[in-house]
């Protein structure tokens, strides 16, 4: 609910700075992407599988032909099941099948700069998202879980392309690669490093 309020505030604020520019499409757009994410570093040691369970969605407002601001959320889940092994600690040994999961829900303020004018056939862009991410860490020993839930700072630079479905079309294909970082520390995870590919649509609505 909080994030929706924030969206509305953001849109209202950006309407104030609405300046005259060559309007190929309406300034307000929404976007949704399917995401595939590859973990790196200590996150890879925790759950080394590429995550095919992810998506992201956002809303964006075009300040002028090339600069846009917005807000974006999403979800990504990392998962790995490790065959039975014995985990030793001081005075304790636990034999268990471990199932390791990390569920990440970022909420980011975004800024995007388009490298061409909006009437181009292919619009490359660079972007940056900064905000917070909800991290739900679950390490199951058999059917018993070690669970930690926390919020962390998150930053996510991105490069991508938008391809309009026809000149001036309000619907654009989106493909991008983003790197996500969070100084997240939990058990064996010392930081969150993920390279993520996104494919989806951007639709200009108003």
């Amino acid at each position: 609910m909080k994030s929706i309020k924030l969206w509305i505030l953001l849109v209202a604020a950006s309407l104030g700075v609405h300046s005259a520019f060559s309007q190929v499409r309406s300034p307000l757009s929404i976007n949704a992407d399917y995401s595939v994410a590859q973990p790196f570093g200590s996150l890879k040691d925790y759950a080394n599988k590429t995550s095919f369970r992810g998506w992201r969605a956002g809303i964006q407002y075009q300040l002028n032909d090339q600069l846009a601001i917005g807000i974006r959320s999403g979800f990504q889940e990392f998962y790995e099941r490790v065959p039975r092994a014995v985990y030793a600690d001081k005075g304790t040994d636990i034999s268990a099948v471990q199932t390791r999961t990390l569920q990440v829900t970022p909420i980011l303020a975004t800024v995007q700069y388009q490298l061409t004018k909006p009437d181009a056939a292919v619009i490359p862009y660079v972007g940056l998202g900064i905000g917070t991410a909800n991290m739900v860490y679950n390490k199951y020993y058999g059917q018993f879980t070690d669970r930690y839930n926390s919020w962390q700072f998150a930053a996510s630079p991105e490069i991508g392309i938008n391809i309009p479905f026809g000149k001036g079309s309000p619907v654009l294909f989106n493909a991008s690669v983003q790197y996500s970082y969070s100084p997240y520390k939990q058990q064996e995870i010392t930081s969150y490093n993920v390279l993520q590919g996104n494919v989806g649509l951007r639709v200009h609505i108003n």
């Binding site: 969605a57 304790t92 040994d93 034999s95 099948v97 199932t99 059917q143 609505i205």
Partner: protein
């Protein structure tokens, strides 16, 4: 703007339906995978300083409301497997009247229907499933070094080994413990594999240093 609101509502709907797509690790888990075998030991103890043990002749069944003793096929299997495992590590089984170095208590714990924090310390001195008279130590409870953490919310099995040789301040020390937790721990066909697992991960448990 009306159109924008509609699209935003649709986007929100999609968001909500997507967020329920996370994988439930418990759904594709077999009973074997669900089980964990936890062993605790007093790391200040040299387990080769013990030679003999005695084991209970029936298994205690502890629930939230009462305790009783039982000797089902499961219990017989458990007594037999633990006995054989200890003998294989060089310990000699003796009658409890023959002053054994170690006492072995077996308990099935059933907290299936109401979850409670289960503090093994509350075994201390409670007759019934730990009967100090059974072991010839009237008035002695046994206590757990503080690093033993046990949380119960289901059926479990506990194998406890108590040092009868070195009572400390009128108390006996539980020097080793195995907890079997998860699905199927009360199933007789799993006893063999569970008992071998806890002994396998407790290599220090042997009567000689060789």
């Amino acid at each position: 703007m009306k159109k924008a609101m509609l699209v935003m509502c649709a986007a929100l709907g999609v968001t909500l339906s997507f967020s329920s797509c996370s994988k439930d690790p418990l759904k594709d888990m077999t009973e074997e995978e669900s089980r964990i075998y936890v062993t605790n030991y007093d790391d200040s103890v040299n387990f080769s300083s013990y030679r003999t043990f005695s084991i209970v002749d029936s298994v205690a069944v502890a629930t939230n409301t009462n305790e009783r003793r039982a000797l089902t096929d499961y219990d017989k299997q458990l007594i037999q497997d633990v006995t054989r495992s200890l003998e294989a590590r060089g310990y000699t089984r003796v009658d409890r009247a023959a002053k054994p170095d170690l006492a072995v208590n077996l308990t099935r714990i059933d907290n299936t229907y109401s979850a409670v924090y289960y503090n093994p310390g509350y075994w201390s001195g409670i007759g019934g499933y730990y009967d100090p008279f059974y072991w010839g130590f009237p008035g002695y409870g046994y206590y757990w070094p503080s690093y033993y953490q046990v949380y119960q919310q289901e059926r479990a099995v506990s194998i406890d080994m108590v040092d009868l040789k070195n009572p400390r301040n009128n108390q006996l020390v539980a020097v080793w413990n195995a907890m079997l937790r998860g699905s199927g721990v009360w199933n007789v066909s799993n006893v063999n594999s569970m008992v071998s697992a806890v002994f396998e991960q407790s290599a220090y448990l042997k009567a000689t240093n060789n």
